[in-house]
């Protein structure tokens, strides 16, 4: 209201950035990079989220007015600059739509930070495992765990050498870095969980294993550490709608109890997670995803 004598510092004035032309832009993309074919990194102006973000939290965004609400893990945040960094792979209609936004464009809706912050503490010897696009999230956790004084091993895996993102950055943070690829084009041929298993078999011990990536990977990491009783944390990426505990779309059974990934997670004790249920629920809309992709594809060509 114009008549207000007190200059209010409302959320709007904090969230908005003033562009050169004087227009107010919320959620503006300030930087964009392609890390690997189909894998994109964006920096987004979101001062409130940048100020509150903690390791392991995520945001929910909609790229356009008719877009889906999709959750993405926070990879980096800069409270001073007022930006957050997100990394995503263009797999479905919604991520493709997001990938088409360029620097200067605004994300239609962006909300966060969501989820409980991850447990970052001194454990001693920690191992961080990331698969595919989630290597980005593994890198973020590696940085936090390093700051907490842990001695760090990282195992990252992807389909092929070109998809091994954040390799150089990780090398600077961790004490030892292992890479694996499905096709053997770089590092050990196989999956990070195979490599972890052989490390454990050769007598290596960790006080904490943190894994993030495809559910199959997190499940096999969990199975690898279970016999050794190693504390193992996974970051789940269940399907979500609101992300604030309203819908229960993201429910998952942990230790026999139903939990909501969005508010009780996204990080859980891997040895308690019912991965088979999680994987089934993630496949719920496979048909619809294919259909949406077709529609988007048609629109692009048209």
């Amino acid at each position: 209201m114009g008549g207000n004598p007190r200059k209010m510092l409302s959320a709007g004035s904090l969230r908005a950035s003033i562009r050169g032309d004087g227009l107010i832009m919320e959620n503006e993309i300030t930087f964009k990079d392609e890390l690997a074919p189909g894998v994109k990194l964006i920096k987004v102006r979101a001062p409130l989220i940048a100020k509150k973000a903690r390791s392991g939290q995520f945001v929910i965004l909609r790229a356009s007015e008719d877009g889906e609400r999709i959750p993405l893990t926070l990879i980096d945040w800069d409270p001073k600059e007022g930006t957050i960094t997100l990394v995503f792979r263009e797999v479905g209609a919604s991520t493709k739509e997001l990938g088409r936004l360029e620097v200067g464009d605004a994300i239609h809706d962006l909300v966060g930070p969501l989820g409980r912050p991850g447990e970052v503490a001194f454990y001693g010897r920690a191992c961080v495992i990331g698969g595919g696009v989630a290597i980005a999230a593994a890198y973020e956790r590696a940085k936090s765990l390093k700051e907490a004084g842990n001695s760090l091993t990282a195992i990252i895996g992807a389909r092929t050498a070109g998809q091994l993102i954040f390799k150089d950055q990780l090398r600077k943070v961790v004490d030892r870095l292992y890479t694996t690829t499905d096709d053997g084009s770089e590092g050990v041929k196989g999956s990070p969980s195979d490599l972890l298993r052989s490390l454990l078999e050769s007598g290596e011990r960790f006080d904490l294993v943190f894994a993030v990536g495809p559910e199959a990977l997190m499940k096999s990491v969990s199975e690898a550490t279970r016999p050794y009783n190693i504390k193992t944390i996974v970051s789940l990426n269940s399907l979500m709608v609101d992300g604030t505990g309203m819908c229960g779309c993201c429910r998952v059974t942990v230790g026999g109890r139903t939990m909501f990934t969005c508010v009780d997670g996204p990080e859980f004790d891997a040895h308690l997670v019912d991965f088979d249920e999680l994987m089934a629920r993630l496949r719920m809309y496979e048909e619809e995803e294919r259909l949406a992709l077709k529609v988007v594809g048609r629109r692009c060509r048209g």
Binding site: M1, V241, M246, E288
Partner: protein, 461 residues
Amino acid sequence: MQRLDVRLRQVRMPELPVEERLRTFDEVALGYSEEQALAEAARCLQCARPLCVEMCPLHVDIPGFIKLIRLGDYVEAAEKVLQKNCMPAVCGRVCPQEALCAFGCKNTIGDPVNIGALERFVADYELEAEAVIPESAPSTGRSVAVVGSGPAGLSVAAELVKMGHHVVVFEALHEPGGVLTYGIPEFRLPKRVVRREIDLIKKLGVEVKTNVIVGRTLTIDDLFDQGFNAVFIGTGAGLPKLLGIPGENLCGVYTLNEFLLRVNLMKAGLFPYKSKTPIKVQGRVAILGARGMDAARAALRLGAEEVCMFYQRKVVGRVDDIRRGIEEGVRLQPLTRPLRLIGDERRWVKLVELIKLKPGAPVKMGKQKLIPEQGSEFLYSAETVVVATGHTPNTIAAANTMRNIKIAERSKTIIVNQETLEAADGIFAGGDVVSGAASVIKAIEAGKRAARSINAYITKR
């Protein structure tokens, strides 16, 4: 003025034919025409001591606005309603009038006056004409943050801004309106009606910020640091309740909230062209719980072959909407309780196992217990299941604050002073987050009451 009409029956509200309803999400009740409104208005006895006004939680001057309809002063009639109710087009559609104003109607020899339909008529007339120009009061220099843009939040905001305070409403979702937007389907409450009513409140000077979760993006402490003099929490009862039976996490099983969020907020009915959010409705649909009528009717529109509601005692909803649901083909199975959900090898739900209930021994006080009938277990095959047992309050706003907001152990409601609705120093709360899941109009009433105490609180300092 027109002659009093002695007709016993209400003027019937025109409705979409059943076949047409199931092909669209368009509003079913079409509203009175001018002639129909005049005919219905003529049935009001204009009581000297109107019980309808007493029964209305907002005490809208019902005989007063009906009299103005008879005079043909529809805009003035709308203004009369707006004096007490900031959302008449919404309330005219979703209020359970049969239990409130119309229940108090003294036209006892015939049907009660269809007050809701008349309220809707004047509100729609006014919104169409955009005739009411909101007055703004001189600024007091005080400001209030409202958390949640549902009925309670919008009501407190509208009242406070009229008193000259600066009001910012924070909404967690990407659209304002709370339950009006995500909970009530288009065929009962068109979103354009909600939007226009919110626009009117915005025109009063209320600022609405979407995509801000108080408790996460900003804490209540941040709001006070930013200079707000008081905070109102109206975050509703939007958290789902689960049944706690085996198989509840199978694929194809939705909570009522997820189902309605996908349909109403995300427009899943338009997938894949005008919405990117899918919903799976196929074959037979089982709705488990008495609160699922909206979901049941939506499922029929999304192509379900059959929809059956299983519940214990009584379907929750307005009489008209339950009737319409039954007309559309929703089947009702009272006196049943689900025992478990059974899935296939792909973990998709296939069967619901239920048991029949019978009334237990009569009791002097309270509800007669329902007890399972031994050996009456039966199976219902369903490919989509909606769990619609109830909701619990959403108190995320009370997270990460140093201020002492007390939350009741069992009901999860915010504990307030019942008179002032104050929860802690400078923090007020009202609506479903305080009462547990109730009604739109009660939330609006709580908002008005909170506005009075907030005004007293911030002006005395």
